[in-house]
Amino acid sequence: MPRLLCVILALVCALLAAPARSAPADAGEALALIASGRFPDIEKGVDLLARSGNTHAQAIIEALRDGRLAVAADRRVLIQQDGGRWSDAATGDALAEAPAAPKTVRINNRIRRAVEAAVGALTLMAPDAEARRQAAEAVFRSRDAAALSALDEAIAREEVPYIKRLMGEARAAILLGDAGASDLQKLEAIDILAARADQDALALLRAATQGSPVVSAAAEAAVASVEQRLALLSMLQNVWYGLSLGSVLLLAAIGLAITFGVMGIINMAHGEMVMIGAYTTFVIQEFVRSHAPGLFDWTLPVAIPMAFLVAALVGAAIERGIIRHLYGRPLETLLATWGVSLILQQAVRSIFGPTNREVGAPSYMAGSFDLGGLAITYGRLWIVLFSLAVFAALMVALKATSFGLRIRAVTQNRRMAASMGIRTPWVDTMAFALGSGIAGMAGVALSQIDNVSPNLGQSYIVDSFMVVVFGGVGNLWGTLVSALTLGIANKFLEPFAGAVLGKILLLVFLILFIQKRPRGLFALKGRAVEA
């Protein structure tokens, strides 16, 4: 009596595994129907199994869908597991030896639909919340009327409000497309979908505008409200992208705001400081990868101060070696630093090769989360926060430390500062190193979103100068406002003009803007201007 044993075993298992489920139906009967090999019987069997509440039901039905369900010579139903091993469908026990000549249970399209509905219904009631959520989403997409009864049952049982809402939306989606549903049901469905307010809901509602007059009027109103909401959402998304781009610009420009804005040095090698920061990150990551792969997440926190140090040292060397001799000759400084930038680029190219280098993203930089319909990636969020933190730190350094006081004193009145005993050449070097170091830190952030190649700096140099000039030379707040403004403006121009044309338009606008206000958005007032 192996069959009876099977059934009893299955019953026991089901009772043990799912004591909450009421009256589990007879899985043995369902399996017998599936084993019969006749399509209508198999369909009935699937339906029976789905409603049985049997713990193995899902595994059996999925096996049937994937063609891994077979009937052995002794009429036992078997599941082929990964790697060719077999298990008994009714008990879930693995078989010790391969059965003789198992016959795969074949299905047709009709059964496949029943199977899909059954899988959906089963997972709608799965103990795992994430599985239930996915099932609800799947039903929303498929809008299969067959799932309606299972969905109703699932909604009644569901306790997590979020998933319950999703299920309700799936139900609404089904009803809206169901010719048999009453107008009242459809109106209710329209309300639910209007509250969902995304592209999927919009498509469903648009389709519903073809229905009866009452329904179509409600659907049209709902379409209008959803469209409005979506427009708002896309605007917010653009603002976010713009902020994100703006924070990148801010990072690239903020060091320049010190060297060019405050000290008045045209440093064309500024972009190369950013590049050096990015390559420092690369070197640190390579070192950690080969020596302590477990600490990979720590590479960025380590890279930030390291990049600052390396770039600051290079900056100090440039200032001591070259720029110091050229104070008061801005155009010559421009040319000499351009030469420095060529040398640094070629040096990096010779050491690391001309191709892009791979800088990995630690775990906390990957992924995204949803904020009221806005998809926000962690990487971008960190960069926005980082740039603001750098900006704040720089403000504090300039306004609240004695070093900052000296920098401001020297830039405002060099001779007076020297008379007061400040070592002005030393302050120049330190300030230049500070600006370069900040550019190096920007390189750490940019290595996460841009290609790390010897040309990395070149792509930011024109933008950085534009940001500083637009914001007003010598004004850090101006730099902040101008970077964010330019970032957002760029993102809003893109949909209308395309990425390249948008950038060109922005450059033309900036060129015209400088004509109008040669000293930038927030110009310094007073005697310092003419100096």
Binding site: L335, S341, I343, L512
Partner: protein, 381 residues
């Protein structure tokens, strides 16, 4: 000081030597290339003629840049844009000359337009089948851009570094624009595959020699125009503006107008240089607009000596010869060398080759002719 006759004013020592060298190049190179047998040690191969022609068109660009930078203090980091615009005007003429001989054999449309499925010629391509019109555009397009740009910039007193940065932004924006296929100027690939110029095949030896002679002539004319401008009263005002802009303005000179004239003329000269460059190298593409090219032109002027005109041309030829040699022999080293050149010239040779030589000569003369007046010479320094 009494005014010398014009011809003498134009031909001071350096200028006479310069024009003499150009004249002998214009005669000797064609003779050597066309008449001497190839085996002769004095034979100049055709590729070298084109190479030299390329250097001399760069020299014209450097001359144009020196006119605004050396004499007016406008450091333009966007002169490559004027050069490239002139080149594109010439390239459009050369494209139209291809006619039905393109790969797709379309009677009017250039290959890239057929490739992009364009049905008819964009409006701005009309007229470029006629050489006089194209030649006019070579002058007019860069000139107009410089005029409009300069009119805005100088009127609102954008000077010094700010001007440099916005000229750089200008050429950067143009580069992005020309990279677009929608621009109708060949996009990424630019214009190339030229066949004829004025009915003569571009690749032929005689045409190449003729283009070389044309370049030498243009350089000589460009020098004379620039020299005339800087030796005239106008030029003196220009130098005054360079040295003390506010003072010149307070003395009643319309500084903007002076600058605008110099900037526009200089842009036109750069355009001519570009137009001569294109048929000799056989291609023009948007990378000519890249800010790095314009800045490289600045270093030619700095190496040769800014504010000397002759030095600018000399610097262009010297630096480019070194570039051709180094990029062939030690390609890794070229950027190091160029970078070092920028630094060394600005730090140790602020007057460039010609300026430094002139300084030495003056010093020698001063010590030889006026030994007792050494104190005065020292004070003059």
């Amino acid at each position: 000081m009494t005014r010398r006759p014009l011809i003498l004013a134009l031909l001071d020592g350096k200028g006479a030597v310069f024009l003499g060298v150009l004249a002998s190049l214009a005669v000797l190179v064609p003779v050597s290339n066309l008449l001497l047998p190839e085996a002769s040690p004095l034979h100049v191969p055709t590729y070298a003629v084109s190479l030299l022609g390329k250097y001399l068109s760069y020299a014209l660009l450097a001359l144009a840049l020196d006119l605004v930078w050396g004499y007016c203090g406008i450091l333009s980091l966007g002169h490559g844009a004027f050069f490239a615009l002139g080149g594109y005007a010439m390239g459009m003429y050369l494209m139209r000359q291809i006619g039905p001989r393109g790969v797709y054999g379309h009677p009017v449309l250039p290959d890239f337009m057929v490739f992009l499925n364009w049905q008819e010629l964009p409006w701005y391509w009309h007229g470029f089948d006629m050489f006089p019109f194209a030649a006019l555009m070579v002058l007019a397009v860069p000139g107009l851009l410089a005029f409009v740009f300069g009119w805005f910039a100088f009127r609102s007193r954008v000077t010094g570094v700010y001007l440099s940065i916005i000229t750089q932004a200008m050429t950067f924006a143009l580069m992005l624009a020309f990279f677009r296929n929608d621009m109708g100027l060949g996009g990424n690939n630019g214009l190339t595959d030229f066949k004829d110029i004025l009915g003569f095949p571009v690749q032929a030896q005689a045409t190449r020699v003729a283009l070389f002679v044309a370049t030498v002539t243009a350089l000589a004319l460009g020098y004379l125009v620039a020299r005339y401008m800087v030796t005239s009263t106008y030029g003196k005002v220009l130098v005054a503006i360079r040295d003390a802009e506010s003072r010149a303005r307070f003395l009643g000179y319309r500084v903007e107008h002076y600058k605008l004239v110099a900037f526009t003329v200089s842009a036109m000269m750069a355009g001519v240089a570009g137009a001569l460059y294109v048929p000799q190298v056989g291609i023009i593409n948007p990378s000519e607009f890249s800010p790095a090219n314009s800045i490289e032109a600045v270093v030619w002027v700095a190496v040769g000596g800014r504010g000397t005109l002759v030095g600018a041309a000399l610097g262009a030829v010297v630096v480019n010869t070194a570039k051709s040699w180094l990029t062939g022999a030690l390609p890794e080293l070229w950027l190091f060398a160029l970078g070092a050149l920028f630094i060394i010239v600005t730090l140790y040779l602020p007057k460039g080759i010609v300026g430094t030589l002139a300084e030495w000569r003056d010093k020698r003369r001063a010590t030889v002719s006026a030994k007792p007046a050494e104190v005065a010479a020292g004070a003059a320094e």
